[in-house]
């Protein structure tokens, strides 16, 4: 790599990275002008009129079981019937605080994850399935899709840069957005992925500057022109990567390669000046469009696709009032009436990872055995990659296309395969099936058990089945009438129940939430 040699001749100053910025503003700031839109029923509890789809007013604290499951699916991928009941008991406010509180991850999982070294899909999957902080993982996944970066640009020793990037995402996911952008801009993997490490003043590279606005902070064609991109590219010049043997590449600021000229960036809004990358982040966040962009994205990720301008502005206000802390915005969204409105319920098409992790968390699946931690985990990650979502390897700089784009035929088909990779279940670590959540096996020879099994599985996913649907599911247990389930040999029954769970797990109301 030519830039390492070039560096030797130049003054290089190690970049100071800002750390520990969060925690100074712990309030749920910006609640002041909260109740916009129709202020209907602050204590409305369960029922939701469609008008509440645009209301950030606080939802009643008492949740129904269905609402509790909805909250867990959106904020924590899924939850067992037991966890759903806990949320109902706690009430909304306490449940959301519990989700936001970062708990220590049992060392068993930390160690297992580390065993997978730079294989991020497997390493991340350990946390996605087992971490007591699912909301933090959910948020890291959200930012990964926004700040999409791929491990496919690094090889050999540099593969560890993917681990550094992944840790950065997870550390910042509910922290301060300004700090996040500062870390992101000098993240080694990002510096390689969008060529920020190779943008000297004499020959600047526009890649990072363009995507910084288009994808990370403002949105496509918001405020900026092609001329602005050329000017802002100058502000980002001078960052490069220092490579020393036996150490990970680290970002340095190469002063001689930083363009110190006066830049005219967004000239109708911003005074010309000698901006560097920190100045670029600050001047971007000074634009109200930036807070709105994040507010809209967060609302869409958790609630529904069509927030009103009032909702976006209101959330953006919360964001700027808290000096760009992410947590207060997430707290407000999760406790809002909109979150539980009819506009929200069922409006989100899950990604393959969200879907499969959500199902596994719902059916209390864990990875204690050697097989689970080895070849099953590997197979699961491969199936998810074939289902369209290979973690830390998105298709392009824009991340994954969300929503209906997930419904490519082959991608859905590969979800079916991913769902067949089962591990152990529940506290007893049973193999094959979550027996602790099913009617007791001693009763499986009874004729009525078939309907009970179908009803039980449907209840885990909070599905309401019609009689016709239920009959079709019973026929799965009965193998289309070839052999009735209750008359089957006991060793054949688990396979049919397993197939039934998988078929119910691909119900359109489970793929959406």
């Amino acid at each position: 790599m030519s830039y390492t040699t070039r560096l030797l001749c130049y003054v290089a100053i190690t970049l100071m990275t800002v750390t520990g910025c969060n925690g100074t503003d712990p309030t749920g700031g910006g609640d002041g002008n909260g109740g916009n839109g129709n202020g209907g029923g602050l204590f409305g509890g369960g029922s939701s009129g469609s008008g509440e789809g645009q209301s950030l007013a606080k939802h009643g604290d008492q949740l129904t079981s269905d609402e509790a499951y909805h909250l867990l699916r959106r904020a924590a991928f899924g939850g067992t019937p037991e966890q759903v009941e806990q949320v109902v008991q706690m009430g909304l406010t306490a449940a959301v605080e519990d989700l936001l509180e970062q708990k220590p991850v049992p060392s068993e999982w930390e160690e297992l994850a580390e065993l997978h070294e730079d294989n991020i899909p497997r390493r991340w999957m350990v946390y996605l399935l087992e971490s007591p902080n699912p909301l933090h993982e959910r948020m890291a996944l959200f930012w990964h899709d926004r700040f999409a970066t791929s491990r496919r640009v690094v090889s050999g020793r540099d593969r560890n840069l993917a681990v550094i990037h992944w840790n950065m995402l997870r550390d910042q996911a509910l922290g301060n957005y300004r700090t996040f952008l500062q870390e992101l801009t000098i993240d080694p993997l990002m510096l390689i992925w969008l060529d920020g490490a190779n943008s000297p003043k004499d020959n600047p590279n526009e890649n990072y500057a363009r995507e910084f606005w288009e994808l990370f902070t403002l949105g496509r064609d918001i405020l900026y022109t092609e001329d602005d991109i050329k000017e802002s590219t100058k502000a980002f010049t001078g960052i490069t990567l220092l490579r020393e043997s036996e150490k990970d590449a680290r970002p340095i600021y190469d002063l001689l390669n930083h363009d110190t000229s006066v830049k005219r960036i967004l000239p109708s809004r911003v005074e010309p000046g000698d901006y560097d990358y920190l100045g670029m982040i600050d001047l971007t966040l000074d634009q109200p469009e930036a807070a709105r962009y994040v507010a809209r994205n967060l609302f869409v990720a958790f609630v529904h696709d069509n927030p009103s301008d009032a909702v976006v502005n209101d959330l953006a206000q919360t964001f700027t009032d808290s000096n760009f802390e992410i947590e207060p915005v997430v707290r407000r969204i999760l406790t809002s009436q909109a979150m539980f409105s009819t506009d929200a319920i069922g409006s989100h098409i899950t990604s393959p990872v969200e879907h499969v992790v959500g199902v596994f968390r719902t059916i209390d699946m864990h990875m204690h055995s050697e097989d689970s931690q080895g070849y099953i985990l590997n197979a699961l990650c491969n199936e998810l990659a074939r289902a369209g979502q290979d973690l830390l390897n998105p298709p392009g700089v824009e991340g994954w296309t969300e929503g209906e784009a997930w419904l490519e035929d082959q991608w859905l088909i590969n979800r079916f395969w991913a769902l067949s990779r089962t591990m152990e279940f529940g506290p007893d670590r049973t193999s094959d099936l979550p027996y602790h959540m099913l009617p007791p096996v001693e009763r499986w020879a009874e004729r009525e058990i078939r309907g009970e099994i179908v009803d039980t599985i449907a209840s885990w996913f909070h599905l309401v089945l019609t009689e016709e649907e239920k009959d079709i599911y019973i026929e799965v247990l009965d193998q289309n009438g070839w052999r009735a389930f209750h008359l089957l040999e006991p060793d054949q029954q688990p396979r049919h129940v397993g197939e039934l769970i998988r078929l119910i797990a691909v119900h359109e109301n489970v793929i959406t939430n």
Binding site: P200, N203, P204, V397, Q410, L412, S420, W482
Partner: protein, 399 residues
């Protein structure tokens, strides 16, 4: 795996049951006979030929494909990346240009008169965003805020040959042998339940219905796609998107358009190194496709169109790579294309610009494929909502 064996057994059974067809009826020697029959059964016009659309995502650097290697401005702007005469094969009919030797099959086809290169193609008010520009190429119109009813080739299908296999996207189908619900129970109980549920249920909102629609499509098409692609044998070992395309072409499903895409062309940095992997990959996958279609006797009725959302900057950056540009070339390959250079050759004036300009609207090239190759009128497809474009190319792309 035990489950897989049972699943394959089920495919056959349910396929025959659903289509009411014996295996013999499918075993037409020439898949294209089937195509033509199906097509004429559905619509009154159309040639029945096959159009393959290969989208190169990220912004294809056409100056690294067809190089104006003698031009001093080109050499000056690209001290590292410019190709020299050793890197390319000079065109037999124009000694100012040469095709990169990393693309031997393209050189071969050009020499045989089976490659048409439409130079400096684009669209008005080019956008430097990948996504915006890809959308423009996919929809064939500028962003009309969601009012466009589908991608242009889907609109074409709906207008002229409205049948399920008319347009196939390799990305949608994936591995055809996996195309269906993977049943591991005896007697296909789960597969049957999956099919019945998808058919009999109504989604409670549009998104849920969209999932059921996909499930139905998988059920209706699944057995046929699996059956008809099972026997395919390629002439080579490559297993990329072009392999999938050949598999689907061979299946004789009445397909008129196969869409595929390759990524990795957004070469802002280390472009010379990146191209050493990327170009041979495209070349080898495509070469195998040509060989496969020749082996099946289908190449005569095939046209492959390569395109990208934009070209790249004329001047290299320090990385060394190239940033997003505007105009690019579209490449048509096939025995009945009008081989040679079309559009405006890249001039010194063009190279003095930051990016290559465009002289031919990309829709004119697609329109020619629709009219002169597939035999349909392109007007309803591209002249949508009163939008117009310059239809002039200056020469005929097909013979």
């Amino acid at each position: 795996m035990k489950g897989c064996v049972e699943w394959h057994k089920m495919n056959r059974r349910s396929f025959i049951a659903k289509t009411g067809m014996g295996v013999g009826a499918m075993a037409l020697a020439d898949p294209f006979l089937q195509t033509v029959a199906n097509t004429y059964g559905q619509s009154a016009a159309g040639s029945g030929d096959l159009l393959v659309l290969c989208q190169l995502n990220g912004g294809f650097d056409v100056l690294s494909f067809l190089s104006p290697f003698k031009n001093s401005v080109y050499q000056g702007k690209r001290p590292v990346l410019a190709l020299s005469q050793d890197d390319l094969t000079v065109l037999p009919d124009n000694s100012d240009f040469g095709i990169n030797n990393l693309f031997p099959i393209f050189n071969e086809l050009y020499a045989a008169g089976e490659l048409a290169i439409v130079q400096q193609v684009g669209y008005p008010e080019a956008n430097g965003s990948h996504f915006e520009s890809q959308e423009v190429f996919e929809f064939g119109v500028r962003n009309l805020n969601g009012t466009v009813p589908g991608k242009w080739y889907e609109r074409l299908r709906k207008t002229y040959f409205d049948e399920p296999f008319g347009v196939l996207d390799t990305r949608t189908i994936g591995d055809p042998s996996r195309y269906g619900y993977p049943d591991r129970t005896y007697h296909g109980a789960v597969q049957d339940a999956f099919a019945r549920l998808s058919l009999e249920k109504q989604g409670t909102n549009e998104k849920r219905q969209a999932i059921l629609d996909t499930y139905n499509r998988i059920n209706v098409r699944g057995a046929e796609i699996r059956e008809r692609t099972a026997e395919f044998e390629s002439t080579g070992e490559e297993r990329g998107e072009f392999y999938r395309a050949a598999q689907l072409a061979a299946a004789g499903l009445g397909t008129q358009i196969i869409k595929l895409s390759y990524g990795g062309f957004d070469t802002h940095g280390s472009q010379d190194q990146a191209n050493l992997d990327l170009f041979p990959k495209i070349n080898n996958h495509f070469a195998q496709f040509v060989a496969d279609l020749k082996a099946m006797g289908m190449w005569d009725r095939t046209c492959v169109c390569f395109y990208s959302e934009f070209g790249r900057r004329n001047e290299e950056n320090g990385s060394p790579g190239t940033d997003h540009g505007h105009g690019g070339h579209m490449i048509l390959a096939g025995p009945r294309v009008n081989g040679g250079l079309h559009g405006q050759a890249v001039s010194t004036a063009d190279l003095n610009e930051k990016s290559l300009p465009y002289y031919v609207d990309f829709r004119a090239v697609f329109a020619s494929c629709i009219q002169d190759w597939l035999g349909f009128d392109p007007k309803p497809v591209f002249e949508l909502n009163g939008e117009t474009y310059d239809t002039n190319i200056g020469s005929s792309l097909f013979v």
